[in-house]
């Protein structure tokens, strides 16, 4: 069943559809042109296979989103795992997947070229290969290396350690494409999606593939630091129905150029906690969009829960809502709390761990080019223990309440950093909060609209933070540095703090 649906997607009439359209860098590509590019990539794969033997994992390098997309299509048609690399991979990421073949796809306007990287000096299939990055010894490229159902890789953001490579299956992607909870009403009867996510992030599946699978149009949006001013024109010209943005990007746009997103009816926010302050500011700026807060670990393809924000928000926190169709949730009491260690002053620490199960849960983790860890089945379905603590609000929606591993030790006392962040972020005048700990100290960085010598706000924040631990320092700031994917760069935040501290003490 999965095979049939997958084959229909890769080889079906979609690629002759007169409706599907890909828009990138002022160029429109029809379904047929996308198919043509995929055919060119397929030819390069076939040539590499003829020269050097079978391949299982293909790394697709392209600065153009279309290059990554068509490269994925081609790799899937060739029965391979497609790893889209937009330039952000280091040796560690590559070692997790160990590509057999690297293709570079260059797209310029309506022309393109495909090159097999290092093809000339790759070992031939007859010789056993044992080189970093290209492990092509006999048998290594067969399906026992990585199960046949695996077609792609999600890299975790690495906020809880090094980036892990999650094995995404055909079934995962088909379940995501069929998930009705992610639908939006399309103004023109066919879906048009703005694409912001870079190809190596899981938002890519939602932005591009889910849209194309629905025979829709993908409009690639220029980066915020490039030409964000082009967004309103693109939204108007193509009638963009929805866009997915990291919560930090929504906050930035709302504060500086709300008009960039004003014309897009449905705004999905994901990747991080969507702050109430951002939502209030959006409404104050006159934005009338529907806002949907998405939640889901990278290990569950893209998203597992959604919450559509009401016109008037009365809760102090934005819930993560309810499971998407096809996703089953279980709430577990964490081990440490079973003996009555819950914290009465901070009830959110008594949250339970969210376990998600169903077809959206990926197969496991890849390491050294093989499936090194498989997520176990629970009650007949693959399950993933998120490590996220949640509570259930009066309406039955889940609310994020911290992380199992966010329980840090400050001067010997256990503190739930995520719970602290939540409580501080809910204070009036506070936009966001991050607790960062290094070998020397623990600092609560508090992002506010009016920074500097805001003593009134500081006196509001201090008691909340000190209630968790008197040893945590408070630092008000008007901005958080972000990583390329949009998540807050806590290491840089701490480094900046150190730099100004040292400067001030001299």
């Amino acid at each position: 069943m999965t095979d049939d649906a997958w084959n229909a997607l890769l080889h079906g009439g979609l690629w002759r559809s007169p409706r599907m359209l890909w828009v990138e860098d002022d160029t429109e590509y029809s379904a047929r042109r996308v198919d043509d590019l995929a055919s060119a990539v397929e030819a390069a794969i076939a040539a590499a296979v003829r020269a050097d033997g079978p391949v299982r994992v293909i790394r697709i390098r392209s600065d153009a989103k279309l290059g990554c997309f068509a490269g994925q299509l081609a790799a899937w048609r060739a029965g391979c795992v497609a790893v889209a690399d937009d330039g952000g991979f280091g040796p560690e990421e590559l070692d997790h997947v160990r590509p057999d073949l690297a293709l570079t796809v260059t797209v310029t306007g309506d022309s393109w070229s495909v090159a097999a990287e290092g093809a000339a000096d790759r070992p031939s299939a007859g010789r056993a290969a044992n080189r970093p990055g290209t492990d092509r010894a006999a048998g290594r490229t067969s399906t026992d290396r990585i199960p046949a159902e695996v077609v792609a890789v999600n890299f975790t953001s690495g906020s809880t350690g090094s980036r892990k490579a999650v094995a995404v299956t055909r079934g995962n992607l088909l379940a995501l494409f069929a998930c009705r909870g992610l639908d939006v009403p399309a103004a023109t009867g066919r879906l048009t999606s703005g694409s912001f996510a870079r190809p190596a992030y899981d938002g890519w599946w939602f932005d591009t593939w889910r849209t194309v699978a629905a025979d829709g149009t993908v409009v690639c949006l220029p980066g915020v630091n490039e030409d964000v001013f082009a967004w309103p024109d693109l939204a108007r010209t193509y009638g963009i129905d929805r866009v997915l943005l990291p919560a930090a990007v929504v906050a930035t746009l709302v504060a500086a150029v709300p008009e960039a997103i004003a014309g897009i009816p449905w705004l999905f926010s994901g990747g991080e906690q969507f702050q109430v302050s951002t939502y209030r500011r959006a409404r104050q700026a006159g934005l009338r969009n529907h806002f949907v807060n998405l939640y889901g670990p990278t290990e569950a393809t893209f998203a597992t829960h959604r919450y559509e924000l009401p016109e008037v928000l009365t809760t102090p926190l934005i819930p993560i809502g309810r499971p998407l169709d096809g996703c089953r949730q279980t709430l577990r009491t964490p081990e440490g709390d079973r003996n009555g260690h819950g914290d009465a002053d901070h009830p959110s620490t008594a949250g339970r761990e969210l376990v998600v199960a169903g077809p959206l849960v990926c197969l496991g983790y890849l390491a050294a080019g093989t499936l090194a860890h498989r997520f176990a089945e629970e009650d007949g379905e693959r399950a993933y223990h998120t490590g996220d603590l949640v509570s259930v609000d009066d309406a039955g929606d889940l609310v994020f309440a911290g992380r199992l591993d966010s329980r840090i030790k400050v001067n010997g006392t256990r503190v739930d950093a995520a719970a602290l962040e939540q409580e501080v972020a809910a204070l009036p005048g506070v936009l966001d909060c991050r607790v960062v700990q290094d070998a020397e100290s623990t600092v609560a960085f508090v992002r506010t609209a009016a920074p500097g010598a805001d003593t009134a706000l500081a006196s509001l924040v201090e008691p909340v933070v000190k209630g968790f631990s008197p040893a945590i320092r408070v630092r008000l700031t008007d901005s958080f540095p972000t990583k390329s994917g949009g998540k807050v760069d806590t290491r840089l935040l701490m480094a900046r703090h150190r730099a100004t501290e040292e400067g001030g003490e001299r």
């Binding site: 915020v224 630091n225 490039e226 030409d227 964000v228 001013f229 082009a230 930035t252 746009l253 504060a255 500086a256 150029v257 008007d478 901005s479 540095p481 972000t482």
Partner: protein, 77 residues
């Protein structure tokens, strides 16, 4: 295309940062971050219609440097 002068950059940054700077001030050392850059770019767009890309701010660093990069970009078109 409209030329954007050093004085216009200074005015925008001063408005966003709410403090005085000169044409040789490193705006990032003065407290400009990515949100402030976006605000400055929005102001310039509003005043001149020119869509200044973010990299000229990150590359130019001082009002004089930024104006020079904008001039170079426009000359190349």
């Amino acid at each position: 295309m409209t030329d954007i002068s050093t004085a216009m950059i200074i005015a925008c940054v001063q408005k966003v940062l709410n403090k005085d700077i000169t044409e040789e001030t490193d705006i990032f050392a003065a407290g400009v971050d990515s949100l402030a850059v976006l605000r400055c770019r929005a102001l310039l767009k509003q005043q001149t219609g020119v869509r200044v890309p973010g990299h000229v701010f990150f590359g130019g660093r001082t009002p004089a440097g930024i104006a020079e990069l904008i001039g170079a970009e426009n000359a190349g078109r």
